[in-house]
């Protein structure tokens, strides 16, 4: 039986395409036909794109050529943040459905540009999020079936326990300057942006509300790499939702030894009926043995934050295995849900318009951190 969908992946190794495209390839509804990107990229990016294509035994093509392959109807788009508006708009102009990396874009203007192209195309869009993890789905059900009662507050964390702690200069206090539009660096990422999008998307998805006001703080606590680039490794936000409900968000990269597994990923819902916490790896069993003792991974020159599976394979980094979830999340669930939406004409849980709002919130966060004052969204 031939696949229902022909998929083109945009990006390469050391992008989230590494994981997403393998989920598409594993789904019997899909045939991944090419890895592609814009022509005339920097050499390191094109080499990494070609490396992923070679790993998957796929051709590496210029974007327009890939989009012109007969029957292509989906792109999985992970270009550099700074190129997303142009690349995603090109995809929508070609009339394909787009599975989008997070966050959607590096500015509200770029995000709105992408949304406008998507709405013109009328195709299905979904941004990667945690909405289809087991724990987020459990939270969703508890809210929907009235178990929590009316939401009175939400608190959500994404604290990624990765990266070799390299420390920041004694006495360094971050002075936030706001976004300058640059988000692509080899050795580090802006973590309020990169990690913060997870809790922001969960808070808005679970509450069904948009954010009205943002008060935020950014900091450099853990990594010289971030400090040297003048980008934050930690961010916190106090959000006020449309109906006045408060929400807080903590996001950052806290170092590989700061947590037994990949980090604190949780949402606490304070409802009329009390306190309800939903977390990755809970409920769980815990296993402590010589076999599960975590060994400090070797430092990768181009990935000291341990961001990418491809570099973890290169360094032979072992997985943390002490916790075993009773209800593990399926890493392919988000892609599968996207395909379900295309096939059944359902609205995705996190669409392009939702993703635009996430960018608005995070950019308001940078502004608040810069000015020291809450920012009201329009």
């Amino acid at each position: 039986m031939s696949a229902l969908h022909k998929v083109v992946g945009i990006g390469g190794n050391r992008t989230h395409l590494e994981g997403y495209i393998r989920s598409f390839a594993a789904d019997p509804r899909c045939e991944v036909v090419a890895i592609a990107d814009e022509p005339d990229l920097p050499e390191y990016r094109e080499d990494l794109n070609r490396a992923l294509a070679a790993e998957l035994d796929l051709p590496y093509l210029p974007l327009d050529e890939a989009l012109a392959i007969d029957g292509v109807d989906i792109t999985c788009a992970c270009p550099d943040i700074e190129r997303r508006a142009r690349v995603l708009a090109r995809c929508f102009d070609a009339g394909v459905h787009v599975y989008m990396d997070k966050p959607l874009a590096g500015s509200v203007e770029d995000a709105l540009h992408i949304e406008a192209a998507a709405l013109r195309a009328g195709t299905v869009t979904q941004m990667f999020s945690q909405a289809h993890t087991t724990w987020a789905q459990t939270a969703r059900k508890a809210i929907d079936n009235g178990k929590t009662g009316r939401i009175q507050a939400i608190h959500c964390d994404m604290l990624m326990a990765k990266g070799h702690l390299s420390g920041v200069p004694e006495g360094l206090v971050r002075r936030e300057r706001g976004s300058d539009g640059r988000f692509t660096f080899v050795e580090a990422k802006r973590e309020l942006f990169d990690m913060g999008v997870y809790p922001v998307s969960l808070v808005t998805w679970l509450s069904g509300q948009r954010v009205r006001e943002v008060a935020a703080h950014t900091a450099n606590y853990f990594f010289a790499e971030h400090a040297n680039l003048d980008i934050e490794d930690f961010g916190a936000m106090l959000l006020t939702l449309e109906d006045g409900t408060p929400a807080t968000v903590m996001a950052g990269r806290t170092g590989v030894h700061s947590h037994p597994m990949t980090g604190q990923q949780q949402v606490s819902v304070i409802g009329e009926n009390g306190y309800f916490r939903f977390a990755d790896d809970e409920p769980r069993i815990e296993v402590y043995s010589q076999e599960t003792s975590f060994v400090d991974p070797a430092r990768h020159e181009f990935d000291p934050m341990l961001m990418w599976a491809s570099t973890r394979r290169e360094t032979g980094q072992m997985a943390k295995e002490s916790w075993e979830s009773l209800t593990p999340s399926d890493p392919a669930a988000d892609v599968r849900a996207f395909l379900d939406c295309i096939d059944s004409e359902k609205r995705p849980e996190v669409s392009v318009s939702d993703a635009v709002h996430h960018v608005e919130v995070i950019m308001a966060g940078y502004k608040s951190a810069r000015t020291g004052r809450p920012v009201t969204l329009g």
């Binding site: 724990w135 459990t138 939270a139 508890a142 009662g149 009175q152 507050a153 608190h155 964390d157 604290l159 702690l165 420390g167 920041v168 006495g171 360094l172 206090v173 971050r174 008060a215 703080h217 900091a219 450099n220 606590y221 853990f222 930690f234 916190a236 936000m237 106090l238 006020t240 006045g244 408060p246 807080t248 903590m250 950052g252 806290t254 170092g255 030894h257 700061s258 947590h259 604190q264 949780q266 606490s268 304070i270 409802g271 009329e272 009926n273 009390g274 306190y275 309800f276 916490r277 939903f278 977390a279 809970e282 409920p283 020291g372 809450p374």
Partner: protein, 121 residues
């Protein structure tokens, strides 16, 4: 809920003083007290004030700025920033039947976690 803030604060302080997490930099504290819990007599404002006092000890001084929501009687949510860059997000509330909460203290060399009674879903 079996929560004794004095004991929690003391244990965290011992770990901090032993330099187990380097320099403490960020606190996440969520505490929710059920309406009928004996601990409900610890008012929301008293608990949040106690938590902020602990922060002043761990972070070295008073916060430089605060943003807050809610009221001091039933629900208080605040985010505080210290002049040295430290931060705290503290939520203390009461109501309903299900108590619980969690504490995370992030340091430059590691983290402290504590789950208050109230099982995760």
């Amino acid at each position: 809920m079996n929560m004794n803030w004095t004991e929690i604060e003391a244990a965290v302080t011992r770990a901090v003083d032993a330099r187990k997490i380097g320099t403490p930099r960020a606190l996440r504290l969520t505490v929710h007290i059920a309406s009928e819990d004996p601990a409900a007599n610890q008012t929301v404002s008293a608990l949040s004030d106690a938590a902020m006092s602990a922060c002043e000890k761990w972070f070295g001084g008073a916060p430089g700025s605060e943003s807050s929501a809610g009221d001091r009687e039933n629900r208080r949510v605040l985010m505080a920033m210290w002049p040295n860059g430290a931060a705290a997000a503290v939520s203390v509330s009461r109501g309903g039947s299900r108590a619980g909460g969690d504490l995370s203290l992030l340091g430059t060399r590691g983290s402290i976690y504590h789950r208050l009674d109230g099982a995760a879903e």
